[in-house]
């Protein structure tokens, strides 16, 4: 991407995000009319995050890599376990990246 495209991308994300934040605060009195929409919105975080995370863990240079040598996959699994146990972002990140480093060190 060129610098200009990146600038436009940032502005588009900024404006769109602001309008999403303002949406119901602005429509205050009509919140109840959008009950169905709110049901769908509830599932957005739990759907969009795996959609980003899974390819980042499993796809390596455009190919699927399900092997113990895939440090990102193993690191991701360790991070899931640590996230479940600690509910702490810092520990989760440290555990995941530490596992990746360990596997890279063994492989290298």
């Amino acid at each position: 991407m060129t610098t200009n495209t990146i600038t436009l991308t940032i502005i588009a994300i900024g404006v769109g995000t602001y309008l999403i934040r303002l949406s119901f605060i602005w429509l205050a009195d009509r919140v109840d009319k959008f009950a169905y929409l709110q049901k769908a919105l509830k599932f957005v975080p739990v759907a969009v995050l795996p959609a980003i995370v899974m390819p980042a863990l499993l796809c390596h240079d455009g190919a699927l890599d399900i092997s113990p040598g895939n440090g990102r996959l193993v690191g991701g699994v360790v991070a899931i376990v640590v996230a479940r146990l600690t509910k702490n972002m810092l520990w989760t990140t440290i555990a995941g990246i530490g596992t990746l480093w360990l596997i890279q060190a063994i492989a290298g």
């Binding site: 991407m1 610098t3 495209t5 990146i6 600038t7 436009l8 991308t9 940032i10 502005i11 588009a12 994300i13 769109g16 995000t17 999403i20 934040r21 303002l22 949406s23 119901f24 605060i25 602005w26 205050a28 929409l37 049901k39 919105l41 509830k42 599932f43 957005v44 975080p45 739990v46 759907a47 969009v48 995050l49 795996p50 959609a51 980003i52 995370v53 899974m54 390819p55 980042a56 499993l58 796809c59 699927l64 990102r72 690191g75 991701g76 991070a79 899931i80 996230a83 479940r84 509910k87 702490n88 972002m89 810092l90 989760t92 990140t93 995941g96 990246i97 990746l100 480093w101 890279q104």
Partner: protein, 218 residues
């Protein structure tokens, strides 16, 4: 509200590092953080830019991630109903995950309290300042972190840290599982469109499970 701040700083710093590591200039990285004020969307956008996704898919994905703010907006709206249009427009910008969590917890405890908007403004501005400070540290560090450290991997890891505690019911687990599976099957779609397809599939799967559960109960 203080316990939230220490957890915020590493997240902000990682976001700053990840942004400049993609090759985005420092001033644009800071602009990104101020204009969008959304770490999760920024990190996803940066990861996609690094993977060569098209601008439209980057914007679309970031906005899908930020659709959760519509949920916060709906939930906090009754507490800000009496405010002037100017107040509403100003507070909307500050409606981030942590500001929402802190304020809604307080408002739920004491729904009749006066000056809710001042509480929200104070909490949200503190969180905003902490976030931007952490981002600036990350932008400054970013260029100095060697690539062999694979710090870009921190992006999916922070997403895991957000995702796992959010899965509290069966329907959410199905939504997450379906989205994850589809994202792998659809990984070869052009422009990284697989993320949008997988997210839609995950949301539909979650709603379906909830619908069936409600029918069985009703």
């Amino acid at each position: 509200m203080l316990p939230i701040l220490p957890g915020l700083i590493p997240f902000a710093t990682i976001s700053g590092i990840a942004t400049v590591e993609t090759g985005i200039p420092a001033h644009l990285a800071l602009a990104f953080s101020v204009i969008s004020y959304s770490g999760t969307a920024q990190m996803a956008a940066v990861q996609l830019i690094g993977a060569g996704a098209s601008a439209i898919v980057v914007v679309l994905t970031a906005l899908v991630i930020n659709l959760r703010f519509a949920m916060y907006s709906a939930s906090i709206a009754p507490h800000l109903r009496e405010l002037s249009a100017r107040w509403k427009r100003a507070l909307a910008y500050l409606l981030a995950d942590q500001a929402y969590a802190v304020s809604i917890t307080r408002f739920a405890k004491d729904p009749g309290r006066a000056n809710k908007h001042w509480f929200f403004l104070g909490a949200a501005l503190t969180i905003w300042g902490t976030w931007q400070a952490g981002t600036i540290v990350g932008i400054f560090l970013g260029a100095r972190v060697p690539e062999s450290w694979s710090l870009d991997f921190a992006i999916p890891l922070t997403f895991i840290a957000v995702l796992v505690p959010a899965i509290r019911e069966h329907a959410a687990l199905v939504a997450a599982g379906a989205a994850g599976l589809i994202s792998i099957l659809a990984a070869d779609l052009p422009f990284n469109l697989g993320i949008i397809v997988a997210t839609t599939g995950g949301i539909l799967a979650g709603m379906l499970v909830e619908l069936r559960k409600n029918r069985a109960q009703g």
